[in-house]
């Protein structure tokens, strides 16, 4: 029974990377706006006279990524709850939407930022990402990411170390299968590190907590999930940046 509580809280934001600290919903929202506008201006300055076209494109991509992030956050949150729902349900409906409302928007914003950062960094490094640039591959990547979350939620592992190791291996496999770029790896690591630190801080400050923290204040598999989430969103972002005309399939 205590696992339920743990999962309610731990998974509420584990599905997506957080690039910012959340101390309040409004503040985060405004911060996100600021961040996005900064990114937008930087990019549009870089492209000089094409400002309007570029910015419009960028905003559209950002919106798509935001939507993807929100949807994924909701779904994966549900997936985490489901573990307890299926087998030993207790107050399912009560906890379903009672977890903080601001988490999906934050996840969406973070997804937008990371998804825009990836192609930006690619173009700055001058090594365009050419590996498996097609929507089918991106869909496969998303499916594998959901699968990793599914595994972390549904499977019973003997101990935490085994769970974390398995998830780490899965995340690395995800990166290797769908990304294989150094920038992607670096950004993924950075995202995972940052997000974990932020979560640690949040938990330390008592915004929420884990029932069975085995890694300082949080669960040790959290970075793996963040990492694979970063890679997945980066993949989507790159694909969006590449084929601006193609719309993301209904997701």
């Amino acid at each position: 029974m205590p696992r339920l509580e743990e999962h309610c809280w731990s998974r509420s934001c584990a599905s997506r990377v957080e690039s910012k600290t959340f101390s309040g919903g409004n503040w985060v929202a405004s911060r996100a706006e600021e961040m996005m506008s900064i990114v937008t201006t930087v990019l549009s300055n870089a492209y000089g006279s094409l400002h309007s076209v570029r910015a419009a494109h960028l905003i559209r991509r950002g919106l798509v990524l935001f939507t993807v992030g929100v949807v994924l956050a909701l779904v994966l949150n549900l997936l985490q709850l489901q573990r307890n729902v299926t087998l030993f349900p207790e107050e399912v409906m009560a906890t379903l939407f009672s977890s903080a409302w601001w988490i999906p928007p934050c996840c969406g914003t973070a997804a937008a930022v990371v998804g825009l950062l990836y192609p930006c960094i690619d173009s700055h490094l001058g090594e365009p990402h050419k590996f498996k640039r097609e929507w089918a591959s991106v869909m496969r990547c998303i499916a594998v990411f959901v699968g990793i979350n599914h595994a972390s939620a549904k499977l019973h592992f003997a101990n935490n170390a085994q769970l974390s190791l398995t998830l780490a291996a899965l995340s690395l496999g995800l990166w290797w299968m769908f990304d294989r770029s150094r920038s992607g790896f670096g950004l993924g690591i950075g995202t995972a590190f940052l997000a974990t630190v932020i979560t640690q801080l949040l938990v330390y400050n008592g915004v929420y907590q884990y029932t069975y923290p085995d890694f300082l204040y949080v669960r040790s598999w959290l970075p793996c999930i963040f990492f694979s989430g970063g890679v997945t969103v980066g993949n989507i972002g790159r694909q969006l940046a590449m084929g601006g005309v193609e719309k993301l399939h209904n997701d």
Partner: protein, 1235 residues
């Protein structure tokens, strides 16, 4: 490396043959595949539909009250279904019985006969138990769930399950709860087994129901090692009475005390069975399915160039889905019932298995040359991709194997499914999909043949060699082309890291070894950990194998010796233990004790028989506490469903079990024996040796009772599966040998167009895959090709000598020559064409050995403004050595201040050779040429515009209105635009004096995106009138002129680009943005305008508004040519770099380094195919990835002639100049894409 090569060759050869087989016998193979799919899916029919599992809730027995119907506010952890009374209370009496001590005179049937016989007395005891206290008398009859009738249709259960009265099930039901029937039953196991369903087991069999424990835990077997029989008596109670139950418990305990039993008895478990899947579970499921469908959609969208796209996509999906079904079916068949929720893992399985192989196969097959026979195409396509397919499969298996070693049960099960799924997917791809593909390709070929027949009707019979020179003279150059198909390099380019790893694995055969070792280990683990399997067998065997036994059993066959020999007396337990190998160590404690019981108390048998408590043979463990958990979760629903009671959305309460321990003396066991039991005694010789071991009876007892052995354990299943697999492979191999004649590869050769003798092939008709792109050399020009023009049907070329030749662009046939004398209107013009004054007919061109005879080469200026940067013209001296550059420069200077009125009569004041020679010379050089319809428009350096009839080779008309050399021409519809050296732009109209209705339209409709050009026949009188002349269109010479979509775009040295409307010659925009002269312009039907300049910048413009869309600096030096596709811009520069830009973002995607001097020639064949010229070769590139697909050498390797011009024709052929020759290269793979 050689191992890899050999392996690769072998795989390739095998795939080739397999492709031939599939394409040769499509219908039988599809039938065979469908049959195997159905056969593998058959077990699925018995599998219950997937649903959610039951939910548990535990309460304490002590203060249990039936929950009320009303929700009682906040009751803590109480689930919302825990409301109201349960359907039933389940009270189980768990009986463990053993004959102790085990006497050596007992036969194996004694293990369970007397223990089972005790069930009747127990039943009697339970039925007759009456609890009497102050409130009244209670008996089981009053409390139990009264059932009335079995469901109709369960007649076979009628004799076994109670049909009225209490629902009380026990093994005694087999004998109608009558001791007499039991005693007179000669073969108990047969009775038990005859009620089992034949074939595969469903989740809850009758045996499970009656025994109440899983079959392998019952111990009712001839080969039971523990000799402990376990069964339950299950009472289903309708109402709960704590006092009755506790008194019953106390009574049973008193009668049959279980000394070492410490089962907890304070918890009852409520199990709720679900029926519907809730929203919360559904949403993630739906999401994964959406992702799955998106994946399938995006994958199958990539299938193209086939006859029926949807058909193939369907086949691909069917392949994947049926491979999954097959995997589940096979796993079920081999006894691995899935515990995972099938619906949840299904999308992940699909994603793991993937559609990639199918797509790769399709792509590979459709990119084989279309003129091959279908089965050869299939075979070649298969063998091209064989290596990568095998590699991918090995990699995936490897990954899955790694996943298997995480040792998490769920992941292991997933991996098991995935492995079987992968293998069956491979099977289906090879048999099903390949065959479907071959059928599709055949259909396409038929359609293709029908369409192309007219065009090919005139084709001569196929020439023997791949090289088909169109030239009549006898000495053909021997094999002037080499072909390199660079599939490995193409792969290398994209995935170097993965390749290196996989190559390493393949080189060292690590993957194979790893998989083999892993499989062996896995099978070993399975066999060893299986409780009924190897470990206990080993332990028992080793313990029985004592040195003392050897003497007694010396004469026995070895396989019996180990099992049957047991020391009669004096066996030393210590020595027995000392020979135990390591595998015997982790045997569970109870077993050890029972083993020890055999060895040690041998002498004290009579005493111990009187003292049962001293023999702790029966142990109670935590797993007995809730023994029902080991049953299928459909156990209770199926029991209740027999009586038409559903448990969906209801719950039952399971009370703590009542343990009952029974120790039976050997005497009792012997007394209860049926006479038939001793009919199968151990053989007398063994009996004298006091051998109780069970294996003895395999030989004697086995035939009659095959069906009573344990359900097949995993190890046996694995062994069986392995054997079956080997057998299947052998069978297939034999079938293959019988079915396939060895020479079907040659069958195609007999009437094929290709002579196989040229290719290295073995006697199976296999030849290494080669590319079939062969260039067609068009010879006839005596000097280097200067201009090329084509309208898709005809091809006109002009060499430095001013000779224009016309070729058939479809076949490469030489048509005729337009020479300057042909029209007869220019008496002085044909100075160097005298020797060709007779009309040339097709294919009779003598090899021109004219080079020495050329009287004057001075007018041959290498100034083609169409394709060469002006800087080239201005900065480099003409290669022929005479000084013309100064003249041109002077001309520039003279015309820089625009003086339109003077131009016509302006005499050049100081040319080195004077005006007349200049005038005379300038007649010859054709600087620009265009071909539309049957008209060739040629612009000469003298400023003269000539119109030639391309069919007849006669001059139709000419216009000498301008004197400045025509640097560029555009011919659109009936208008000709000529750009001149002085920066002026002339618009001409071609008038045909003929009613419009008589115009014939020519060309394949729909094949090209430009409107078919009118065909001018020779009867018409054609006149060419200057309609408008824009004198100062540019300040400096016009370097580029392009026309499309009703616009004429000019680029000039003066850094500007101008856009004119074609109809009224009106200047729409002057586009400024370059900081150097314009050197390249691209415009197409969709009004995309791109320009490149000497500053290396590329600008994209919006033609409608005249605004600049994008501006990038791409090259050091001039941009020499520009092409746009819908997604990218391709540019080449003087720095010999070809850069590919994203059109929407302006980001450079990648660049290709070209050979020196060949940078300018490039063309786009389709959206994803780029062709570039090189030194004596043309290269094909995949635009999406920048991979080199293929290089076609035009002549003898590396004779250093660069391809400077390259024209892409509509029929997916390309024409390029190759010195004095033209080369026509067909690109077969994109032939169908234009439809």
């Amino acid at each position: 490396m050689t191992v890899r090569e050999r392996l690769r060759e072998k795989i390739s050869a095998a795939f080739y043959r397999h492709g031939l087989l599939c394409a040769s016998y499509p219908v039988p193979i599809i039938l065979f595949t469908s049959a195997s799919i159905l056969a593998c899916c058959y077990p699925l029919l018995r599998l219950p539909l997937p649903g959610t599992g039951p939910v548990e809730f535990t309460t304490r027995v002590r203060d249990y009250t039936v929950p009320s119907h009303e929700p009682q506010g906040d009751l803590g952890e109480r689930p919302d279904w825990y409301r109201g009374p349960p359907v039933a209370y389940i009270q189980q009496v768990l009986v463990k019985a053993a004959v102790s001590p085990w006497d050596s005179t007992l036969v194996p049937v004694d293990v369970f006969r007397s223990p089972l016989g005790r069930v009747f007395s127990l039943l009697e005891e339970i039925r007759n138990h009456v609890h009497n206290d102050g409130s009244g008398v209670r008996s089981l009859e009053a409390l139990c769930l009264q059932v009335t009738d079995l469901l109709p249709g369960l007649r076979r259960m009628q004799t076994v399950l109670p049909e009225h009265g209490c629902l009380l099930v026990s093994p005694g039901n087999y004998w109608q709860n009558q001791r007499e029937l039991f005693d007179s039953d000669p073969d108990l196991l047969k009775t038990v087994h005859q009620h089992e369903p034949k074939g595969l087991h469903t989740s809850a069999t009758l045996r499970d129901l009656l025994f109440g424990v899983p079959v392998k835990h019952t111990g009712v077997s001839l080969y039971s090692r523990k000799r402990v029989v376990t069964y339950t008596i299950t009472m289903v109670l309708g109402s709960y009475d704590a006092r009755f139950l506790s008194s019953l418990r106390a009574r049973l305990r008193q009668l049959h005390p279980s000394v070492n039993c410490s089962l907890r008895e304070d918890h009852m478990v409520h199990v709720h069975f679900k029926e519907e899947i809730g929203m919360a579970e559904l949403i993630p499921l739906v999401t994964t399915y959406i992702i799955l469908f998106a994946y399938i959609y995006f994958s199958t969208r990539k299938i193209d160039m086939v006859k029926s796209k949807w058909g193939l996509a369907l086949a691909a999906v069917v392949t994947v889905l049926s491979s999954l079904l097959m995997s589940v079916g096979l796993c079920t068949l081999f006894g691995l019932t899935p515990t995972l929720n099938g619906g949840e893992i299904f999308p992940y399985l699909v994603v793991v298995i993937g559609l990639e192989n199918v797509l790769v196969l399709t792509k590979s097959v459709v990119s084989t040359p279309v003129d091959l026979e279908v089965k050869l195409r299939i075979a070649q396509g298969l063998s091209n991709e064989s290596w990568s397919i095998m590699k991918n499969m090995a990699t995936e298996l490897c990954i899955i194997l790694i996943g298997y070693f995480t040792l998490v049960p769920a992941i292991q099960e997933f991996c098991l499914f995935a492995v079987v799924g992968l293998v069956s997917d491979f099977f289906l791809q090879m048999f099903f999909f390949t065959t479907v593909l071959s059928i599709d390709i055949r259909r396409m070929e038929l359609a293709d043949l029908n369409r192309r027949l007219p065009a090919e009707a005139g084709m001569p019979p196929p020439k023997p060699g791949p090289l088909r020179p169109r030239e009549a003279p006898p000495p053909p150059r021997p094999s002037p082309y080499t072909i390199t198909l660079q599939t490995p390099a193409f792969r290398n380019l994209r995935l170097p890291k993965r390749l290196r790893v996989v190559y390493f694995l393949a080189r060292t055969r690590l993957a194979q070894r790893f998989i083999m070792v892993g499989t062996v280990i896995w099978i070993g683990i399975l066999a060893y950990t299986d409780p009924a399997g190897l470990r206990t067998y080993l332990a028992a065997q080793v313990s029985e194998q004592s040195p003392l036994g050897e003497g007694g059993a010396g004469g026995l066959p070895p396989h019996l010796g180990g099992a049957s020999v047991f020391p009669g007396a004096g066996g030393d337990p210590a020595s027995t233990l000392s020979v135990l190998p390591a595998p015997a160590e982790p045997t569970p404690l109870p077993e050890n004790q029972s083993q020890g019981h055999h060895g040690a108390p041998r002498e004290g048998v009579p005493h111990q028989a009187q003292a049962p408590p001293l023999v702790p043979q029966i142990s109670w463990g935590a797993e007995d506490e809730e023994g029902w958990r080991r049953l299928s979760f459909r156990h209770w629903p199926s029991l209740f469903s027999y009586y038409n009671i559903t448990l969906a959305k209801r719950y039952i309460s399971i009370l703590p079990v009542i343990p009952v321990t029974l120790h039976l003396s050997p005497r009792e066991a012997i007394e209860t024996r049926h006479p038939q039991d001793t009919r199968h005694p151990p053989p007398p010789s063994l009996k004298t040796n006091d051998l109780p071991a069970d294996l003895t009876f395999i030989g004697t007892y086995g035939e009659g009772s095959k069906q009573v052995i344990n359900p097949p354990s995993l190890s046996r299943v694995a062994a069986l599966g392995l054997a079956a697999g080997v057998l299947l492979v052998l069978l297939l191999f034999c079938l293959y040998r019988v079915l396939c004649p060895r020479n079907y590869g040659q069958n195609g050769v007999a009437h094929g167009r290709r002579r196989r003798g040229d290719l290295p092939c073995d006697d199976y008709g296999y030849s290494p895959p080669i590319s079939e792109i062969s260039p067609l050399l068009l010879r006839g020009h005596s000097m280097d090709i200067e201009c090329l023009a084509s309208d898709g049907m005809l091809l006109a070329s002009c060499c430095l000598a001013g000779q224009i030749r016309v070729w058939d662009a479809q076949t490469g046939d030489y048509t005729h020559t337009c020479h300057n004398l042909g029209g007869g209107t220019e008496p002085g013009g044909g100075v160097f064409d005298e020797d060709e004054g007779y009309p040339l007919r097709r294919r009779t061109t003598p090899r021109p050995a004219l080079f020495e005879d050329q009287p004057d080469l001075t007018p041959l200026i290498d100034t083609n403004f169409d394709s060469q940067p002006p800087s080239h013209l201005l900065l480099t001296p003409p290669r022929d050595g005479f000084d013309f550059g100064g003249l041109v420069e002077r001309a520039y200077l003279e015309h820089e201040p625009p003086s339109p009125g003077l131009t016509a009569s302006y005499p050049s004041p100081s040319p080195p050779s004077g005006p007349p020679p200049q005038r005379r010379r300038s007649l010859g050089a054709v600087w620009a040429m265009e071909l539309r319809g049957n008209l060739i428009a040629a612009g000469r350096s003298s400023g003269k515009l000539e119109l030639w009839d391309a069919v007849e080779g006669s001059l139709r008309c000419s216009n000498e209105d301008g004197v400045s050399g025509i640097t560029a021409l555009a011919f659109l519809n009936n208008r000709i635009v000529a750009a001149r050296l002085d920066g002026s732009l002339d618009f001409f109209t071609v008038d045909i004096n003929k009613p419009l209705g008589l115009l014939q339209y020519r060309g394949p409709p729909g094949r090209s995106n430009i409107p078919p050009s009118p065909c001018y026949s020779s009867e018409d009188v054609i006149s060419c009138q200057l309609t408008r002349s824009v004198q100062c269109a540019h300040q400096k010479p016009i370097t580029v002129l392009r026309a499309a979509a009703g616009r004429v775009v000019t680029g000039s040295q003066d850094h500007t680009v101008r856009v004119y409307r074609l109809e009224d010659s009106c200047c729409l925009f002057t586009l400024q943005g370059h900081s150097g002269g314009i050197t390249a312009i691209y415009i197409d039907q969709t009004m995309v305008l791109a320009s490149g300049g000497q500053d290396g910048a590329i600008c994209l413009w919006d033609v409608l508004t005249g605004s600049r869309v994008s501006h990038v600096y791409g090259h050091r030096g001039d941009v020499t040519s520009l092409v746009c596709t819908t997604s990218c811009v391709i540019s080449s520069g003087l720095d010999d770099l070809i850069s590919i830009w994203d059109r929407s973002t302006g980001i450079k995607l990648y660049s290709i380094q070209q050979e020196v001097g060949c940078g300018a020639s490039l063309g786009v064949i389709s959206e994803s195919l780029l062709v570039t010229g090189g030194q004596g070769c043309v290269s094909f590139w995949d635009l999406n990835f920048g991979d080199l697909l293929q290089t076609v050498y035009l002549g003898q390797s590396s004779d250093g002639q660069g391809v400077r011009q390259l024209v892409v024709l509509n029929n997916a052929a390309i024409v390029c100049d190759f010195g004095s020759e033209l080369s026509l290269v067909y690109v077969p793979s994109v032939l169908e894409k234009l439809d």
